[in-house]
């Protein structure tokens, strides 16, 4: 076993158990190579120190309460963000319904025109909103 392979084996030994044959080859190389012995000493010491130093912290006691508060705020802000869409769709549907009641003979035409108008104004509203948001981001 050369130095490079021995050092890889040393590192492997810190991750999990080694096959006996590999361990014996590593030990045999270590008994003759000062450089690899030093490498092994540093790595084994480092492993022990890391195991002692890297201990898990616990989440704070208020973690869940604080998360729930954030989720509540998030839900209400998303509801507020959807309000223009809801108002637009409700308005368009209401208008179409009134026209359907006023002109029952042209119900198909009114329904199609209502759907087309709703779609077109929804698209227009989305474009205007995006451009306003973009301006807001730039400024």
């Amino acid at each position: 076993m050369n130095c490079e392979l021995t050092q890889e084996t040393i590192l492997d030994s810190l991750t999990g158990p080694l096959p006996e044959e590999r361990r014996i080859s590593m030990e045999s190389h270590l008994s003759t190579c000062e450089n690899c012995r030093q490498f092994a000493a540093i790595q084994r010491s480092l492993d022990a120190q890391l195991a002692g130093a890297l201990r898990p912290f616990d989440l704070s006691a208020g973690f869940r309460a604080s998360l729930r508060e954030r989720l509540r705020d998030d839900t209400s802000s998303r509801w507020r963000e959807s309000l223009p869409d809801i108002a637009h769709l409700a308005g368009a549907a209401g208008g179409t319904l009134l026209l359907l009641l006023a002109f029952p003979r042209y119900s198909t035409t009114v329904a199609l025109a209502g759907a087309a108008f709703t779609g077109a104004t929804y698209f227009l509203q989305a474009v205007i909103r995006d451009s306003l948001e973009e301006q807001g981001d730039i400024s």
Partner: protein, 174 residues
Amino acid sequence: MDEDIQRLIERSRYPEALEQLLNRYERKVFRMALAFLREPNRAEEVTQDIFVKIWRAMPDYDGRASPGTWLYAIARNTCLSATRSEAYRKTVPLDAIAEPAASTDTASLKLELERLVGRLPPIQRAAITLFYLEDKRVDEVATLLQMPEGTVKSHLHRARRSLGEMIRNNDHEL
């Protein structure tokens, strides 16, 4: 194992699904955040960000990956972007690492070690930290970081070599 959570999401029972996800994964997600960010307070903030993202994404969950895998993917990406923005906010000067640590006091030794680990690239830092936080289980680290076990081992080797070099070059005593 995650089938019950998957069923809850599919039935749009999001609050219950979130509760189950929190019960099962909040500590692991926090450890992942801690491994990337190293500061408990910041790691807790990022853990919250991750669960807020999960909450928002639940209606779009398509069930192709298990909820755990899906959550870990979101967690890993969130931690990586948080790490990148942290790197802009503060950088540890090299001189701070180069100071010799002669003290054998446990607290300063731990601090010294944390500083050395902090010099590693984010993914190596996360791999080596999680390896010790997860009781030296490479399979757990691989699941958390969404990478093959071989890749985790390779990150561990690189991290150990770098730390060993830092110790040798700067004459740190551990």
